[in-house]
Symmetry: C2
DNA sequence: GCGGAAATTTGAATCGATCCAACAAAAATG
DNA sequence: CATTTTTGTTGGATCGATTCAAATTTCCGC
């Protein structure tokens, strides 16, 4: 007597149901995907058999191959996955992406390429209809890899000046000017810049040549905006120290140390991200330097946290949610064309900036 | 002469490359998936052909069907997708899940079942190896739907008392006791409870029968913990108003109105979530009721925001990140067994609680 | 130059569905 | 009752890869 084999490993397939119910696999398929076209009697019979056999329903893996569309968009970054839930900027952006996806019922697949070895694999094997890329550090490798998939994709943030890829960014020059003008009009004349990365992973003071050869045009443009506007107010921009950081605590603090250990201290700091701006405020406050009485700080981004910190941050606000929404829609309604959009920014004045101290 | 058809819609398949390179598709496949076993010369030739034809690499859709594993875990909720990026509790949980996924290189697919019609479809067609379910409102439908997929899944948070499904929760009774004891030891004797939902979507005062028939055993257990401990201190728990909310601003405020418009005002509020606790603090403060001088408030969850609010929140902290990590590992290392884990909680005393006011 | 081991390559089978042209049966029409 | 129309069902083709046993080629030592 053959022993009963318990719990057959192989899951039930649609074909098994069809055979058991005595119908063709075509009909069995219709029972699940277009029930209205199959005769009620047959439909119920097949459903009953499926139920009895413990059928899990048509496997999406099978359907996918036929259908071609995953109905999900991938969001890629070179940061670890937790970045999406912890970074304030990413979170607001994701909220915008979520909105657009919710509206069409699409899902979101988070893909991290933090791990160098698995970077390629994760991008290559992601089951998505397109990608939205958070191009931060190491973004160019991410873009190259994604391009190979030949799926629609959009690059966000500090873009490279590559006209062949779709991207959504903000008017960085205008943003820089807005920030600079605000401070200049408050009477400030001595500045320091906390800059995002210009290209290679490095931190430290930046020379004019390095600015000219910047890979990240976003960083370069903000800088250009700052300087153009300050020049109009007669500020000698060649004297302004620019410290390149990695947009995190350690290098930003190092930058502040470096800037404030110099001879002539600035009365205003132009930070290229709210994150750096908030780190700066904390650092200054901890050293008894009052913000904004002694030093004013302007951020860039407009993340919600900026309104909550103490003092609340003056910043250049990007329409982050809207950028996210548009990026998602670009993928969802992809029509084969490269699109490049530039969004406006606006100055949000809060309490981290004030009149330049006298003398 | 036949006209050249530009931009053939159909993307290049591996079989096209094989044919063009004059090798079998088996070999062509090996070139990409196990390059080391194909002769260097052939390998290079195939790669060159692929490059020339603009091949995007093996399509994961095809591979998936064969391989069977997606290498991604789905996280499902009945909230909109933005919930994952905006809710503080969800965010910490997702950070834990992210950690575990990063460690094994798995991806995360976010699945929302907010939309009733698409609820089923989204769960049914998600390309994942398993699910982690955030079981909040309407969680039972979500669980039922997921169960049908016959994939491993774990339910988080206020579990139903269904022993047949894997779940990770916290010791709600112990948490309730901890909160109650803390307040009782501070001398409080008049309490009010801001409760999470017990079952159906409703808000308002709760009767003892409703507690007994609670669907959400988590809510019931916290309540039991509160009451058991308070009884020990001689408090008549039958007099304690319990207001059921939806864990958001509107219903929580309504609860506070109702509680504070009664005759004898409580000196302490037991809130079943940090969210409600923070809303309570805000509401009380706005009405000139000082926290903790006039009324003490204890939350539940231990979200980071609690430490930042004013006054900082005393709460029962769950090991949220660890729960997330474990949930992810449960899916990643699924061994076919149902697991139910209960995690410990701890009292975190901050400034929202103080001695009961005299008199 | 030969036998046998090792290294490559082949091609059919498989993964699990959906689609669709062709056919069959039932219903409506003349 | 014969003919069209409508409604349902069938089974082969397809989606795009991977796998593996079998066939073939290459490599070695003698």
């Amino acid at each position: 007597m053959a022993p009963l084999v318990e719990g057959q490993a192989r899951p039930i397939r649609l074909a098994d149901i069809a055979k058991a119910a005595g119908v063709s696999h075509g009909t069995a398929s219709n029972v699940f995907s277009r029930p209205e076209i199959v005769r009620a009697e047959v439909r119920e019979r097949v459903k009953a058999v499926a139920e009895a056999m413990g059928y899990a329903g048509p496997d999406p893996k099978g359907r996918l191959l036929r259908a071609g569309k995953v109905n999900a968009i991938g969001v890629g970054t070179t940061e670890p996955l937790s970045y999406f839930f912890e970074d304030p900027f990413a979170r607001v952006m994701m909220a915008g992406i979520s909105e657009a996806c919710d509206a069409t019922g699409a899902g979101i697949a988070l893909v991290s390429a933090a791990n160098q070895e698995k970077l390629a694999w994760n991008i290559q094997s992601a089951l998505v209809d397109g990608f939205i890329l958070f191009c931060i550090e190491g973004g160019s490798r991410l873009v190259d890899l994604t391009r190979e998939r030949r799926l629609p994709f959009v690059a966000l943030e500090l873009g490279f000046h590559d006209e062949t890829i779709s991207a959504i960014g903000v008017d960085n020059v205008a943003g820089g000017r807005l920030a600079a003008r605000h401070l200049a009009e408050l009477g400030h004349r001595r500045f320091a810049v906390l800059s995002l990365t210009l290209g290679e992973d490095r931190t430290g003071f930046v020379t004019p040549e390095m600015v000219r050869s910047a890979v990240y045009t976003g960083t370069r443009d903000r800088l250009a905006g700052y300087f153009e506007e300050l020049s109009r107010f007669g500020v000698d921009t060649t004297q302004i120290p620019i410290f390149e950081t990695e947009n995190e605590q350690k290098s930003t603090r190092a930058g502040l140390e470096a800037i404030f250990s110099g001879g002539e201290r600035p009365t205003a700091i132009l930070a290229m991200s709210d994150r750096m701006a908030m780190i700066a405020i904390e650092w200054l406050t901890a050293r008894g330097i009052k913000v904004p009485q002694d030093v004013s700080v302007v951020g860039f981004d407009g993340v919600p946290d900026g309104a909550l910190c103490d003092p609340p941050l003056t910043t250049i606000a990007q329409p982050i949610t809207e950028i996210g929404r548009r990026a998602a829609r670009m993928i969802l309604d992809f029509d084969g064309t490269v699109r490049r959009e530039t969004m406006g920014v606006e100055l949000v004045v809060r309490a981290s900036t004030g009149p330049a101290p006298k003398g």
